[in-house]
């Protein structure tokens, strides 16, 4: 009887501890701020936190830049988040992050932000390596994605139906592709949609007769980048202006940056930062 009672008391005690713990942890979560203001630069060295969010195309580059920046300034923490270009624009405007990232031009309907051109990025048109087609004109690409051309034989390939793979509505890569390739036309609603550059790459590489578009930074040997208007999709061709599908990658701030945020952006635009841009497969800013 006594041990039984002890057990019950123990269970009660544990459950009340758990309940209190839950309540406490939830309130502490709620009260912890999502945006940390940047601390002023001290003459002895930089310290504090920078938050960045936005375009998934900018994300791998920003992470690399942040790593190097944090090595140079051990007391600084830079957090990089994805979310997409639209998230980058809204977060920078609302001040939930210090720096937003966008991989397309800002629309007139979007808030006016201070743009820092970080790099340029080509968008590659990719197929599985086995595809016999090696190049398309920009107009052919448009007609394929608009569902006007539906068979590879219509563009000089084998007699096989084209499987169109695109990104979801709101993606910066899709936005830039629509702006530069589709013009007034819409991407067919029959297109298979994948939610990231990585997922598009996997899907294209494993789906015979498929076609998709990818940020240059995500190109590897699992897919084949097609020449567009006769120009190979390489960083050099994008840099000299001959490759036709190139978009800007921006860091965005609400006001002209100050303090730590300015230091980070200045570093990204410096010669050292721009060499990282090149290493990551993007096109540096002159």
């Amino acid at each position: 009887m006594k041990t039984h009672l002890g057990k019950r008391r123990f269970i009660l005690l544990m459950s009340s501890i758990l309940t209190i713990g839950l309540v406490l942890s939830s309130t502490s979560c709620a009260s912890s701020p999502t945006a940390t203001p940047t601390e002023p630069t001290t003459p002895t060295g930089l310290s504090g936190t920078i938050t960045e969010a936005g375009s998934t195309s900018v994300q791998p580059l920003a992470e690399r830049l942040a790593d190097v920046f944090m090595q140079m300034h051990p007391k600084v923490t830079v957090t990089i988040q994805g979310g997409g270009s639209s998230v980058g624009i809204t977060s920078a405007d609302e001040g939930t992050v210090d720096i937003g990232a966008a991989s397309r031009e800002l629309k007139p309907s979007e808030p006016p932000l201070v743009k820092h051109l970080l790099a340029r990025d080509g968008i590659a048109i990719v197929t599985p390596p086995a595809n016999t087609v090696t190049g398309l004109t920009k107009d052919e690409v448009r007609r394929i994605f608009a569902d006007e051309v539906t068979n590879w034989s219509q563009v000089g390939g084998a007699d096989a139906e084209i499987i169109v793979i695109a990104r979801e509505e709101g993606s910066g890569t899709r936005g830039a592709f629509e702006e530069m390739v589709m013009g007034e036309d819409l991407i067919t609603s029959n297109a298979i949609l994948q939610l990231s550059n990585g997922a598009v790459r996997t899907t294209v590489s494993t789906t015979p007769n498929s076609i998709g578009f990818l940020s240059f930074g995500y190109l590897d040997t699992s897919v084949k980048a097609l020449a567009v208007d006769g120009v190979e999709g390489t960083v050099e061709n994008a840099k000299n202006g001959s490759y036709p599908i190139v978009r800007p990658l921006y860091f965005l701030t609400k006001e002209a940056p100050t303090g730590l945020g300015k230091e980070f952006i200045d570093f990204c635009l410096s010669a050292e930062g721009q060499s990282i841009v090149t290493d990551e497969g993007f096109i540096p800013v002159d």
Partner: protein, 289 residues
């Protein structure tokens, strides 16, 4: 004596708080989703939203009918595939298999529940999608999604069905066998009807998981907003629609995604009610018979 009373009251209070917490959470989710989705209902119009077939947020077109149909078809497909397999498997475990076979099979099936859905999606993308592509189409299809979902809901259906088959009083079984029924007749005419309520509960739970599944669906269904015309055509589910676009959405678009959540919420409510109703009727007719 006094300490007993105190403990009793405290225990009661803790239990009440915990129980109401789950109810408050449910209510809060619904109220919040509805509040966020309300502007979309007003701006787009209820019938345009529910019965529109074009979803192009960039052009201000927000019709979710293809996705509602997609969600229902995938759920239906997975249930058609999973129910016979699940019940057969439960019968095997409860009535046919030896103790040793059961000791291996049962934990293996239960382990399936613990596999994260993204892993199911990955396997589906690499294994099921190419297989379905052999039949026709792109492989990213309602059929692929149904097959992946079948694997995901099977453990639920199997373990609950098996438990309820085991819970049938031994006397039923013995009486049936004593009257000369074969083992199959005993299972079909006695065990299954007697375990019916538990089996249906397992199916309802599995259905809930199926319609709410998101990640695995996004990876294998293709996410194209088209009205699915065959098991081989791609589709988008309501859950997939929210997950795919909420990160980008603002204004009416964001509100429309919350409104999608409201529709999903109500859809699950209706499906559960219908299933529970069918279950109750099933039990009644069973008692009359």
């Amino acid at each position: 004596m006094a300490s007993h009373v105190v403990i009793d009251r405290t225990a009661k209070l803790v239990v009440i708080i915990c129980a109401s917490a789950s109810f408050v959470v449910l209510g809060a989710i619904f109220v919040f989703t509805l509040r966020e989705g309300m502007p979309a209902f007003q701006e787009i119009g209820l019938s345009n939203f529910l019965f529109g077939t074009e979803w192009r947020p960039g052009l201000g077109m927000f019709g979710i009918l293809p996705m509602t149909v997609g969600s229902l078809l995938v759920t239906l497909g997975s249930m058609v595939l999973a129910i016979p397999v699940g019940i057969a498997c439960a019968i095997l475990l409860a009535e046919v298999a030896s103790f040793r076979v059961r000791r291996i099979l049962r934990p293996a099936i239960e382990l399936l529940v613990g596999i994260p859905s993204v892993v199911y999606g990955l396997v589906g993308m690499m294994l099921i999608v190419p297989l379905v592509r052999e039949i026709g189409g792109t492989g990213f299809s309602v059929l692929s999604a149904s097959l992946v979902l079948m694997a995901m809901v099977l453990p639920t259906i199997i373990s609950i069905s098996e438990d309820s088959l085991r819970a049938v009083p031994k006397g039923y079984k013995e009486a049936a066998l004593a009257m000369g029924a074969t083992q199959w007749q005993m299972i079909w005419h006695v065990q299954l009807p007697a375990a019916r309520s538990g089996i249906v509960a397992g199916i309802v739970l599995g259905m809930g998981r199926a319609i709410g599944e998101t990640m695995a669906m996004i990876m294998v269904i293709g996410n194209a907003v088209v009205m699915p015309t065959s098991p081989l055509s791609p589709a988008r589910t309501l859950t997939g629609n929210i997950a795919a676009e909420i990160m980008y959405a603002a204004g009416t678009h964001r509100s429309a995604l919350f409104a999608t959540g409201v529709v999903l919420f109500l859809l699950i409510l209706v499906l559960n009610t219908v299933a529970t109703f069918a279950l109750k009727r099933g039990i009644r007719s069973q008692h009359v018979a």
